[in-house]
């Protein structure tokens, strides 16, 4: 990268040559208005708003007007942003764009954070001169997530560029011509793309807005916000939840260049309503005997009862939670003792995740930061349905697939940021992206090569690929010619790539698949130090929990069954999602006491003797470890009403009452974090994942409310005219207040993106070291796993055998972005998109078994559902949806019989 010296309005600046002038100007902090440009979508030159003046040389006094987004930065360039001609041009341009724009800002959901509003004010267009009628459109029903109001459109084309080009959606497009251009669908209907919610942030005005937010709308400036982390999968995307009046109102993306960048998936954006769900546990509940109804009890009583249960000389075991913070899990571990602490997942799942951690630790290949996936130029996915288990990873893979075909644009000297031309040059050519999965997935269309098979087939093929890359890898006996050819093709492509990436995960339930991925990555590493790995995990803190426990739910139940335990303390977990239903019921009944700390009423809650109400991610502070091993702090957004408290405080208090254990010395969250770091040296970086609670800037806390927040003195006027004291928060550097430090805080403490004159989400430009790159001061989060780059790895040797053909089928879990995740299913918009339980069969298997579409079948004696014929499922596999509410734990491993239920 070469630097260029450019002159802007008489001052000299040094910037990277070859980038677009608009990006350079924005990175330097200039307020150049723009619409069609977006840092992730780059330039198309459609809106004519970012005009600047260019001068040939010092003698040129006239200059010429050019679009800065379409102009490459060259050395010695002379530019004016403030020239009167070009200022007038920009004002006139916006006047044109505003011709048909309605004057509905006061009732528009975008008002107050509208890029169009900001730009209009910035250019100085204040008076409407046109006398003509505005064109109007009929709006469409686009489903539960996105609201449509086409009259506000200024035809910047960002929506279709994001939806079609970036996210590969095919059901949103542009219609018509001239001044009746329409962005929408061919007919009303649910937007099918799982990233559709990003339209809300991509649209520079109010055409696409958050439909769930409409039910409880609050302006951006009235929201109380804090930096947070998404809890709906293991990737750890950064989010900004917003609250007012004790209700969580919405989720917005929080840019983190190393993680999610600019985008969220729809589960992450719309799953939040579980926090407001009527199923929330808001006060302590107890039942006097089995089969009795729960009765509420006061907080102090609950605390005493909890301590009492623990002190009855019972044999207590604790079950932690992969969806609870490190701090909450550690508190439980301290409460029950390390040997009595069990990870709240199936033992098989814990083994898979620990296998992944091992591979990341002992091997030399680092886990790739999610935000860097898009820079890879060859991708192999082994086994994992990333679209549904790690959606933003899938979105980034799509961008990675573009890199190799972009060589065609490079050869033509088309800068990649010149988006339309570069895409035109690359045509429909597919990059080296290989998909080896158990069934058809959404990514199939984008892959160069797709192979489908059972988890064992997947692993075996993976081992062959590794063997082709390095002969020291074990070879696989009995592979047929076709599969060998496929493996050879993949190995060749990966071997030639500059930045190859291998992705796998626990989705198929097979450890062999994970091992095969490790061998491929390690084999690549021998010749290419850029090789990278990525493992997904099922839940937001699966990885963190796996550091703390060596046994899991099945072992905990076994302890109850053999009489080694009679009291169960369960943290933020519904055991029915983990293992066999009958076994859980028997165990819970066998216990003297079952205590649950959770925020939602679910199957386990209804069987607990004592239920303690705990805060969700929005009501507590804590740390999560993402699938790549990044420890990230999420901060309490608002103080919950009533008896809801953080899990760790309930447990700390119980320990204090008992007068035992070190819990008594945990005054603040930071005390637990220090204890975690002391106990687990690997988790030491957790301390640095965000500043401590005592952190102040100029002696001030960071305010959660904006300086414009309204109604502070009047919002409680119906009950009291006194302004209540804001709640204290000793656990974080944030205050529940509009008062505090008004400048930019460190990157891990940014509660919202706002800058003077930039009220929209585009204010983010002002927080990045360069527009589109990392946040000033570095992206938040600390890695807890360092790869062992010193030693040669020992290749994994154990390869699955080919099973003899049989009439039984191999069960494979099918994941659904809307449906498979527990918490988001308490959000009505997400639940509305989830499928009903079903059993997927290849049509040929179905006809062999005498089954047809809709027949009710039973699997393994416990799973029931109607048959759905799915040609994309290979023969010999039966697909069972994972995690749908009320369906219990999934079925993986072995073989099962599918039998018709005759009623």
């Amino acid at each position: 990268m070469t630097t260029a010296s450019i002159h802007i309005d008489g001052n000299a600046y040094s910037v990277t040559a070859g980038q677009s002038l608009l990006r350079a100007c924005l990175s330097l902090g200039f307020n150049v208005p723009y619409f069609c440009w977006h840092p992730a979508l780059e330039s198309v030159g459609a809106c004519r708003q970012c005009a600047v003046k260019l001068y040939r040389d010092e003698k040129d006094t006239r200059g010429r007007i050019a679009m800065s987004c379409m102009t490459p930065v060259t050395d010695g360039m002379i530019v004016s942003i403030e020239d009167p001609d070009v200022r007038k041009f920009r004002a006139r341009n916006i006047e044109w764009l505003m011709l048909n724009h309605p004057h509905d800002c006061p009732v528009c959901d975008e008002g107050g954070e509208c890029h169009l509003q900001d730009m209009t004010v910035m250019t100085g267009h204040t008076y409407r001169r046109t006398r003509f009628r505005k064109r109007t459109y009929r709006n469409q029903d686009l489903g539960p997530f996105v609201n449509h109001e086409m009259n506000r459109c200024i035809q910047c084309y960002r929506c279709v560029r994001f939806y079609r080009d970036y996210a590969h959606g095919r059901d949103l497009d542009v219609f018509g011509i001239h001044d009746s251009v329409y962005f929408g669908r061919h007919e009303d209907g649910v937007l099918q793309n799982i990233f559709a919610g990003n339209l809300v942030e991509i649209c520079p005005t109010g055409v696409f807005t958050d439909k769930t937010g409409k039910r409880h709308f609050v302006r951006k400036w009235d929201l109380q916000t804090a930096p947070s982390v998404c809890v709906h999968c293991g990737l750890g995307c950064n989010i900004i939840p917003g609250e007012r009046g004790g209700e969580l109102r919405r989720i917005r993306n929080r840019f983190n260049g190393s993680v999610n960048g600019y985008f969220l998936c729809d589960r992450g954006r719309y799953g939040y309503e579980f926090v407001n769900s009527p199923s929330r546990v808001r006060q302590p509940l107890r039942r006097d005997g089995r089969g009795e109804h729960h009765k509420p009890l006061r907080s102090e009583e609950a605390r005493a009862l909890f301590a009492d249960i623990l002190s009855r000389k019972g044999r207590v075991v604790g079950v932690g939670s992969p969806r609870a913070s490190l701090e909450a899990n550690f508190a439980l571990r301290a409460l029950v003792g390390p040997e009595h602490f069990f990870a709240g997942m199936a033992d098989t799942e814990l083994a898979l995740i620990q296998r992944q951690i091992d591979i990341m630790k002992i091997g030399p290949v680092p886990a790739i930061p999610l935000g860097k996936v898009a820079t890879c130029d060859a991708v192999l996915v082994l086994g994992e349905d990333v679209t549904n288990t790690a959606p933003i990873l899938a979105l980034n893979i799509l961008q990675a697939c573009r890199n190799a075909p972009m060589a065609r644009a490079d050869a033509l000297h088309i800068p990649r940021w010149e988006d339309r031309a570069a895409r035109e040059a690359a045509q429909q050519v597919k990059g080296p992206f290989f998909l080896i999965t158990a069934h058809d997935t959404w990514l199939d269309e984008s892959a160069e090569l797709v192979f489908k098979g059972t988890p064992d087939d997947i692993a075996r093929l993976g081992f062959v690929v590794a063997h082709f890359l390095d002969e020291d890898c074990p070879s696989v006996a009995g592979m047929d010619g076709d599969r060998t050819d496929i493996a050879r093709t993949i190995a060749r492509s990966l071997g030639q790539a500059r930045d190859p990436l291998i992705i796998s995960g626990p989705g198929t339930g097979s450890g062999y698949v994970i091992d095969a991925a490790a061998n491929i990555a390690w084999a690549l590493r021998k010749n290419n130090r850029n090789a990278r790995l990525s493992f997904t995990v099922p839940e937001c803190n699966s990885l963190g929990l796996a550091f703390m426990a060596s046994q899991a739910v099945d072992s905990a139940l076994a302890a109850v069954e053999r009489g080694a335990a009679d009291t169960l303390v369960i943290l933020e977990n519904d055991l029915f999602r983990r293992t066999d239903k009958d076994r859980i019921i028997a165990c819970l009944n066998a216990c003297k006491h079952v205590v649950l700390l959770d925020h939602l009423m679910h199957g386990t809650a209804s069987l607990a003797d004592l239920v303690l109400p705990v805060g969700t991610f929005a009501e507590t502070t804590g740390t999560l470890v993402s699938s790549e091993g990044r420890a990230q702090r999420f901060f309490q957004v608002y103080a919950p009403q009533g008896d809801i408290r953080p899990s760790w405080q309930w447990m700390r208090d119980a320990m204090t009452v008992r007068g035992t254990l070190r819990g008594a010395s945990w005054r603040y969250l930071d005390d637990i974090i220090a204890a975690i770091a002391g106990e687990f040296p690997e988790l030491q970086p957790v301390i640095d994942s965000a500043p401590p609670g005592a952190f102040r800037i100029k002696g001030l806390k960071v305010p959660r409310e904006t300086h414009r927040v309204s109604g502070r003195t009047s919002i409680h006027a119906d009950t009291t005219v006194h302004e209540p004291k804001p709640p204290d928060d000793p656990d974080s550097p944030f205050a529940f207040s509009m008062e505090g430090y008004g400048g930019k805080p460190p990157s891990s403490l940014i509660p919202r993106f706002w800058a003077p004159r930039w009220n929209s989400v585009q204010a983010l430009n002002k927080f990045q070291s360069e527009v589109g790159s990392d946040l000033v001061g570095g992206d938040p989060g600390c890695m807890v796993i360092e790869p062992n780059t010193g030693e040669e790895p020992v290749y994994r040797q154990s390869i699955p055998e080919v099973l003899a053909p049989s009439g039984s089928l191999v069960p494979v879990p099918l994941y659904h972005i809307f449906g498979s995740e527990e918490l988001s299913m308490f959000s009505s918009s997400v639940a509305g998109r989830a499928p009903c339980p079903y059993v997927a069969l290849n049509p040929r298997d179905a006809s062999r078994l005498g089954l047809s579409n809709g027949d009710e079948v039973e699997i393994a004696g416990r799973w029931r559902g109607p048959v759905v014929l799915r040609a994309g499922l290979p023969e010999g596999i039966v697909g069972v949806p994972s995690g749908l509410p009320g369906t219990g734990a999934g079925i993986t491993g072995g073989r099962v019989d599918v039998t018709k239920v005759t009623s």
Partner: protein, 154 residues
């Protein structure tokens, strides 16, 4: 459902084409040639045949003035509203047509003989003001000439 003939004709266009979507315009014209216009149902059939979504095909179809997404009359009159025709009296031509036919832009006469559509430029600036009826170009128009032309098409 596309007819056998329509399929054959589209497949013929497909020979030598890079991919199916690249002949979308030809496919629309082939089917419109036989059916007069592209209904929603027809659009979906063609899209499925070309491995496109209806959204993608409709995006193309609605861009072009010569693809009809609603039924039209036996003859379609395209009135050029390009700059040259406008300078040379486009407005009076349009007013006259409107009065003679008793219809406005986008409408079809009651007897189903004419549909009136604007078109951005038909490349006949040297004979402005100009119109097209179906595929025939008429230039250097006056009110009298229009009456004559209409009579021919009745």
């Amino acid at each position: 459902m596309l007819s056998e003939d329509e399929r054959m004709e589209i497949l013929k266009e497909l020979e030598g084409a890079e991919d199916a979507p690249s002949i979308a315009m030809e496919a629309l014209r082939i089917v419109q040639g036989r059916r007069g216009y592209i209904s929603d149902e027809t659009l979906c059939d063609i899209a499925a045949f070309l491995n496109m979504t209806p959204h993608e095909l409709d995006s193309l179809a609605t861009f072009y003035s010569f693809i009809f997404r609603k039924p039209v009359g036996r003859h379609v009159i395209y009135v050029c509203d390009g700059v040259t025709c406008w300078v040379m009296g486009h407005e009076s031509i349009f007013e006259h047509l409107k009065q003679r036919l008793g219809i406005n832009w986008g409408e079809t006469t009651e007897d189903g003989s004419f549909t009136l559509l604007p078109v951005s430029c038909i490349g006949a600036c040297d004979h402005a003001p100009a119109i097209m009826i179906d595929s025939t170009l008429y230039g250097d128009l006056s009110k009298e000439k229009i009456d004559e032309i209409l009579k021919e098409h009745r």
